[in-house]
């Protein structure tokens, strides 16, 4: 708790978590690349890309937890920001294909040649540069969130209304991206990527590097969220979550706080999407499906909202369960499990796994309040929605 300001934001668990992430970021790629496949310590490529995917989901969950757990904004449209970031990265990789596409057109991606387009749409310009694409990955979702949030928070759209409007937002985007003349590959989306920054996306080295990059991003994201929620800004956010009107009457500009944290969260979601796309090799409009966004919310709920670590844990656990279920004979029952999870978590485990553990720990130990961050807001019997 003491010492350099850099770690002041972190509690003990947070430090342990970051150290763990650092170890994973190094050990897993090494285990894949250096340890021979015969060794029991070898990490398979399947594992690397699977967990690389989960880590991206975990960043998304972190973004959702930041706004839902600490500011009470339940966004059912965060999948849209995730997908937009993914599309920005996908556009970069499409431009990298160049003449290696089926139609070998140096400028136009295959689907544009197929649709008989003559020139590149203006919004595709600049995506041949990685730096530009990397900027857009955060900027586009951030800008959308800023504009959307500016309208929504200014007119005090809160609670379930906001949730439904965000769901409508991602639904509208899904309909739009399904259209061919939108210029993003329509139904099929963007795929057939060849390389990223000159490295083959299929190779084990690139996959390991992407995995490490995702884990490092997760660590940075976690640190950033932690720094925010432990600061004075974070206390205001929690106050907004628990009693929005009271905070407003105390003279805080609630909408500015909400707008800041919502935009930041959307940027994080966009970055998560950008890391996700090279690892799965495709981005298509179904990523915008409202169901995906709600599923991301349940990861946070399972892990424990307002705990950050819980969001990460929940994302990985639920997705691991999903993979296990959907790849076996149990596939038809996965939706029962997922649906049951929604019901069970909200009814029986409202604090989530980490929240419950924390609560239990705190009930046993001395009555300290840690570094001043309140536990998840579910303890409040009358949350001001």
């Amino acid at each position: 708790m003491t010492g350099s300001p850099l770690i002041r934001a972190l509690d003990r668990v947070g430090v342990v978590f970051l150290v763990l992430l650092a170890i994973i970021a190094v050990a897993v790629p090494l285990g894949n690349l250096l340890v021979p496949p015969s060794s029991p310590w070898h990490v398979s490529l399947y594992f690397v890309s699977l967990f690389g995917k989960y880590v991206c989901y975990a960043i998304l969950a972190l973004a959702i937890d930041l706004i839902w757990g600490y500011c009470g904004i339940l966004s059912l449209g965060h999948g849209a920001f995730f997908a937009l970031g993914g599309y920005a990265m996908g556009m970069y990789m499409m431009r990298q294909i160049g003449t290696r596409g089926v139609y070998a057109n140096p400028l136009l991606p295959d689907f544009m040649v197929f649709l008989n387009w003559k020139e590149l749409p203006f919004y595709w310009h600049g995506f041949q540069y990685f730096a530009y694409a990397a900027l857009m990955v955060a900027l586009v979702p951030g800008l959308l969130a800023f504009v959307f949030g500016w309208f929504a928070f200014r007119s005090r759209v809160t609670g379930v209304y906001l949730s439904i409007i965000t769901q409508a937002l991602t639904f509208a985007l899904m309909l739009g991206f399904f259209r061919n003349n939108f210029g993003f590959g329509g139904n099929n989306g963007l795929t057939d990527f060849k390389d990223i920054l000159g490295f083959n996306v299929q190779s084990a080295e690139t996959r390991s590097a992407l995995f490490a990059a995702s884990v490092i991003t997760l660590g940075l994201g976690f640190y950033l969220c932690r720094a925010i929620v432990a600061s004075k800004l974070g206390k205001v956010l929690i106050a907004i979550r628990d009693a929005e009107n009271r905070v407003r009457f105390l003279g805080y500009r609630v909408e500015s706080y909400k707008l800041f944290v919502f935009t930041l969260s959307a940027c994080m979601a966009g970055i998560a999407g950008a890391l996700y796309v090279p690892q799965v090799g495709i981005i298509n409009p179904s990523e915008f499906a409202p169901g995906n966004s709600i599923e991301a919310v349940i990861w946070v709920a399972v892990g424990g909202r307002g705990t950050l670590i819980g969001a990460v844990l929940g994302a990985i656990l639920v997705n691991y369960a999903k993979t296990t279920f959907t790849s076996g004979t149990l596939a038809p029952y996965w939706l029962f499990v997922l649906g049951g999870l929604f019901v069970a978590v909200t009814l029986l485990l409202p604090r989530g796994i980490v929240g419950t553990a924390e609560h239990w720990w705190r009930g046993r130990g001395p009555k300290t309040r840690g570094n001043g961050v309140a536990p998840a807001g579910v303890a409040d019997p009358h949350p001001a929605e």
């Binding site: 509208a172 709920a301 929604f342």
Partner: protein, 535 residues
């Protein structure tokens, strides 16, 4: 004067035709038939014309056989036969089956020119058919073909015709022929234009715009005037059409949203499984129809009527179960309610998928719900009409229930002030459960209606959930009138945007408009005022 002259001429021609036909009937028909035995295209063409003109009762059969390649001839005996559908050989002139048909029968050959002549002849023949529907179809066919050869037949048919609607069609067909005939006088052509103008559809515009090159300038000018007037009236009709489609979509939205207006609007419970209640209603209809098909097919016409109360019972009781089992523990936590009911919707979908399979199930329409009729240029299908009436009936019924029954009174009391209602002796928990059951049951009824116009699949409800939430949010929470207005506004706005923006962009535009609208009126068109807002 001109019109009178035209009519007299038509009469005279018709008269002449009838006389000629009567005089020459039997003999000329046999003679005409021998024309088919020459095995030359030009003789065959003459024979087609002669048979068509003969007025013989067998003429239509003979020409139809020719069209199907079933008209056979015996080159030696110079006789013509028809191969019936069941492969029997009959004499063409009499229709009598012949036992020992000659062995060397050959079909009468046709080329493309002759095929057109056959079609025109058939069209001309069915102008005199017994059934007015067939006469009408024949007139429409002539309107499309604009075949000069059909003119005499048209005019005699026109003179005989008693049914006014067939007569109109015949007059239009005649006008179409005259306008495209190079031999017709300018006066005749000018006289023909009003008939086309009165028809006033896209085909008329196409006809008037595509007049032959040698048309006199006065006629072209009159045609252009007529096109302008038809097009302006068509625009009005297309607006009416859009409004009708909008009303139809609005009624569907109303049905889907009105149950939500109870659960979300009145009780403040977000039910993401509402769409699945609709889906269950649709599957109830499916099951009812399957049972009826299996045990008592005669009842099929009533299947939808039987399904309505059953769907209400199924969805309503599941709704009560959901409220008692899950939602009542989550009152005051709307975000958690949202998540839990979303989970429920996944479970219900998967349960239905497991029970009925993932594919679309076939739900039939009773005969009184299928078909369509025309009002002017507007095509109205019965099922859409019924759904509009049905949704309004459900709306009025629900309004009456809330306004005039004890349950409605208690529900309104609980909505307005729960503690006070409880202290007056109202069992609020029971009211909650019943109100939720009511909202879900109405969703089930909506499912019965939607099964008639949409695919019955496990995903049926998903397509409506966002739209219905939009309706409720737009109309204002806690007000049924707002839901009504919201549903029809969104339905009509959607259909008016579609022609300009396309279906998908129209939908996106609507969503954006709602998002902007909520800026102005965050609580919908009809907002609750006072303390209820912050409750």
């Amino acid at each position: 004067m001109r019109a009178l002259y035209g009519r007299l001429r038509a009469l005279a021609v018709a008269f002449g035709l009838l006389l000629a036909a009567a005089a020459a009937n039997a003999q000329s028909f046999d003679e005409a038939l021998t024309g088919f035995t020459a095995d030359s295209f030009s003789d065959t063409e003459n024979a087609i014309g002669a048979v068509a003109r003969s007025g013989n009762a067998r003429a239509a059969d003979v020409i139809a056989a020719l069209q199907d390649g079933r008209l056979l001839f015996d080159p030696d005996g110079k006789k013509v036969y028809i191969k019936e559908k069941d492969d029997r050989i009959a004499e063409a002139a009499t229709g009598q089956a012949v036992a020992g048909a000659p062995a060397n029968l050959r079909p009468v050959r046709l080329n493309n020119r002759l095929r057109r002549a056959v079609e025109a002849a058939l069209g001309g023949l069915s102008l005199f058919a017994e059934d007015p529907g067939r006469r009408f179809d024949a007139a429409q066919a002539v309107f499309k073909s604009r075949d000069e050869a059909a003119l005499p037949a048209l005019e005699s048919a026109l003179a005989k015709e008693a049914e006014p609607w067939v007569k109109t069609a015949l007059a239009e067909a005649r006008a179409a022929v005259v306008l495209n005939m190079s031999g017709a006088s300018e006066a005749d052509k000018l006289a023909a234009i009003p008939a086309i103008r009165a028809r006033g559809d896209q085909d008329s515009v196409a006809l008037l715009a595509g007049l032959p090159a040698n048309t006199p300038p006065a006629v072209t000018k009159a045609a252009n005037d007529a096109i302008a007037s038809i097009q302006s009236s068509l625009e009005v009709w297309s607006a009416v059409q859009n409004a009708w489609y909008g009303l139809s979509l609005g009624s569907v939205l109303l049905l889907a949203a009105i149950g939500l207006a109870i659960t979300f609007g009145v009780m403040g419970v977000i039910n993401m499984a509402h769409g699945e209640m609709v889906m269950l209603g649709a599957y109830t209809t499916f099951v009812v129809q399957e049972v009826i098909r299996a045990y008592n097919p005669g009842l099929f016409g009533y299947s939808v009527v039987i399904a309505v109360p059953l769907a209400f019972a199924v969805s309503g009781s599941i709704g009560v179960l959901i409220e008692r089992g899950i939602i009542r523990f989550l009152y005051g936590r709307p975000l958690e309610t949202l998540l839990a009911t979303w989970g429920l919707s996944l479970i219900l979908q998967q349960a239905v998928r497991t029970a009925f399979g993932p594919t679309n199930r076939d739900v039939g329409s009773p005969s009184w719900m299928s078909g369509a009729f025309d009002v002017g240029q507007l095509n109205i299908t019965y099922n859409r009409l019924w759904i509009i009436c049905f949704s309004l009936a459900v709306f009025v019924g629900l309004l009456g229930l809330l306004r005039f029954t004890r349950f409605g009174l208690e529900m309104r009391a609980v909505t307005q002030n729960r503690p006070m209602a409880a202290s007056m002796g109202i069992r609020t928990g029971r009211i909650d459960a019943l109100a939720f059951g009511l909202g879900s049951g109405i969703a089930g009824i909506a499912g019965v209606a939607l099964s008639q116009i949409d695919n019955v699949s496990p995903n049926l409800g998903q397509g409506y959930i966002i739209d219905s939430f939009m309706v409720v949010v737009f109309g204002g929470v806690g007000n049924l009138w707002g839901t009504l207005l919201g549903a029809f506004t969104l339905g009509i706005a959607n259909k008016f945007l579609e022609p300009y923006a396309g279906a998908v962009l129209g939908k996106i535009a609507i969503l954006v408009l709602i998002i902007l609208f909520i800026q102005k009126r965050p609580r919908g068109l009809f907002a609750l005022r006072g303390r209820a807002v912050e409750a």
